[in-house]
């Protein structure tokens, strides 16, 4: 990028230089106009959208076909790769017997409780560190050092302290959510647009007014980004925790299926884990976009 700009600048005539008379310009043969590949025919909106959707389904369908063919022809044994119909049947079985609901609700409850504890603590911690430089000086170095140990590193430690029960899961999920939420909250406070603060000072706002009317409103959207990130992390660690130590939940279904060599159960559970994660992430994304839309009008342009 920089190289391209540099050459571009070199070849630019400097304004002070006298320009050569026009007639002395070498008469290059005009470069043939580049063939611009215009869209062959204008497609209407819904046509191109339909094409996009069709193209995006091509790969999954091809993979599914290959999978089906592979199991049908016996290229792979059923223990290694169960046929798709099998997985589908397991999935419907899970739904009709209510097993899925039982395990999914256990998982969701864990992730919700853990996330609420973790993000609540995270926002509070970030708030204190963001508002007071003294608190930040005391706590942030320790926090940064502890963050270097990932959630998985804490696991054996927490296992010894809390045993294998519910508290273990809450603590680890809360920890997973806490880290990004705290850091994003702190960053949100550091990134308050300077101009807004100056305007506040010019209008003689009190310290308290600056915090409630300027700092907090402009920090809402970044904090929300932190919450979304925190939930993603919480969901990720939920699966790990349940894989390692639990007797119910979606992760447990996966671990159980693996122990019994029922890969259809494993795959069905993976599909459910992925779908739930996707849905929650989409929900967060919608809210985030709405928050940012409001933000673009006021502080965004000033920043």
């Amino acid at each position: 990028m920089a190289r391209a700009t540099a050459t571009a600048l070199d070849q630019q005539p400097s304004p002070a230089k006298k320009l050569a008379p026009v007639e002395r310009l070498p008469n290059f043969p005009a470069r043939a106009p580049r063939q611009v590949a215009a869209a062959t025919r204008p497609r209407s909106g819904w046509q191109s959208r339909a094409l996009n959707i069709a193209l995006s389904w091509l790969l999954p369908i091809a993979l599914l076909g290959l999978w089906y063919l592979g199991t049908e022809r016996g290229w792979l044994s059923e223990q290694v790769l169960p046929p798709p119909a099998y997985v589908y049947q397991t999935l419907t079985d899970l739904i009709t017997t209510g097993d899925l609901w039982l395990n999914a609700s256990a998982s969701l409850q864990r992730v919700l409780v853990g996330f609420l504890i973790g993000s609540g603590l995270g926002v509070t911690l970030g708030l204190f560190m963001g508002l007071s430089k003294t608190v930040e000086d005391y706590l942030l170095p320790t926090f940064n050092a502890l963050v270097q140990i990932p959630v998985l590193g804490w696991m054996p430690f927490a296992l010894l302290l809390f045993g294998i029960g519910e508290p273990l899961k809450y603590v680890l999920i809360a920890h997973a959510a806490l880290v990004p939420v705290t850091l994003c909250t702190l960053q949100a406070f550091h990134q308050v647009p300077k101009r807004l603060l100056e305007v506040g000072q010019a209008y003689g706002f009190s310290q308290r007014q600056i915090v409630t009317d300027i700092v907090l409103p402009s920090a809402v959207a970044p904090i929300f980004t932190g919450l979304r990130l925190g939930f993603t992390k919480a969901w990720l660690s939920l699966v790990v925790v349940e894989l390692l130590a639990s007797s119910e939940g979606l992760g447990y279904l996966i671990a159980y299926g693996r122990q019994l060599f029922q890969l259809d159960l494993v795959m069905a559970a993976v599909v459910v884990v992925g779908t739930v994660g996707l849905l929650i992430d989409r929900g967060f994304e919608v809210i985030e976009r709405r928050l940012n839309k409001g933000r673009a009008i006021t502080p965004g342009r000033l920043a």
Partner: protein, 262 residues
């Protein structure tokens, strides 16, 4: 001066960062030496130090850390190379993006560790399975950031390239790749961080062979809190070291390509 003072703690406040850890260790030491708790889990700091020394001198530690790091780096390299290829394809070709993009976006939503049972059935519990899992962990951020970087090359650059009559190849080498480089580095940096996390996860879940994760699991199974604490410190230190290394490499590469650091 004033801007520096705003970002860094003033020198007389530097001590503040040490207060919490020092007080914490002091309380821990006091609790252990005064026997505030009968639980065998309350080990003294000295015991942790002794265990650490034993681990290091007996060579167990070196075996664990070297096999963990070898695994981590090989998975990281495979994942990064594949990720760069896939990311470039996604970034350069609209058709490829339409074909593969949505599937990839769905795929990356699935919690990474959910793949472990499937991988363990397909590839066993050995190093192959772990490296496959690690490369998967490293692949995702590289693909996402490479593709993003290539897609977000400023239009002005592309127009300049067009005005100068750059060929498609010249545009890619001279304009698009350098412009996307910071984003690509971010992806590789994230890949390094994720792959270390995934190394530990893989060693927990695919228990076999040596590794720092296995050391931790051993400690936890035998109720040896000192070993667990030692392992945690090592994991944190290695993660921090990789972090610093990646940052430094990133900065050097940026200087090489004349990109001002963000």
């Amino acid at each position: 001066m004033s801007s520096l003072a705003a970002t860094h703690a003033p020198r007389q406040h530097r001590y503040r960062g040490w207060v919490v850890p020092v007080v914490g260790v002091a309380i821990w030491w006091l609790a252990a030496s005064q026997g505030w708790s009968d639980s065998g889990l309350l080990v003294s700091p000295q015991k942790v130090a002794v265990t650490a020394w034993e681990q290091v001198t007996s060579g167990q530690f070196w075996r664990a850390i070297s096999s963990s790091l070898a695994r981590n780096l090989s998975g990281f390299f495979i994942g990064t190379v594949l990720g760069l290829i896939l990311g470039c394809l996604l970034g350069f070709s609209r058709l490829f993006e339409r074909l593969v993009g949505p599937s990839f976006n769905t795929f990356k939503q699935i919690s990474l560790f959910a793949w472990i049972p499937l991988i363990s059935v397909w590839f066993g519990l050995g190093d192959v399975a772990k490296v496959v899992f690690l490369s998967l962990a490293a692949l995702v951020p590289v693909v996402v950031n490479t593709c993003d970087g290539l897609r977000n090359v400023p239009n002005a650059f592309l127009e300049v390239a067009k005005v100068y009559g750059f060929s498609r190849w010249q545009t890619i080498i001279g304009v698009m790749l350098p412009a996307a480089l910071p984003s690509i580095f971010t992806g590789i940096y994230l890949a390094l961080v994720y792959s270390w996390l995934a190394t530990i996860g893989a060693e927990y879940l695919l228990v076999s062979g040596d590794g720092i994760g296995n050391t931790l699991i051993d400690g936890s199974e035998h109720f040896m809190m000192d070993l667990v604490l030692f392992g945690m410190v090592i994991i944190g230190l290695v993660g921090w070291g990789l972090n610093v290394l990646a940052r430094r490499l990133e900065r050097r590469m940026q200087r090489l390509y004349g990109i001002t650091p963000r």
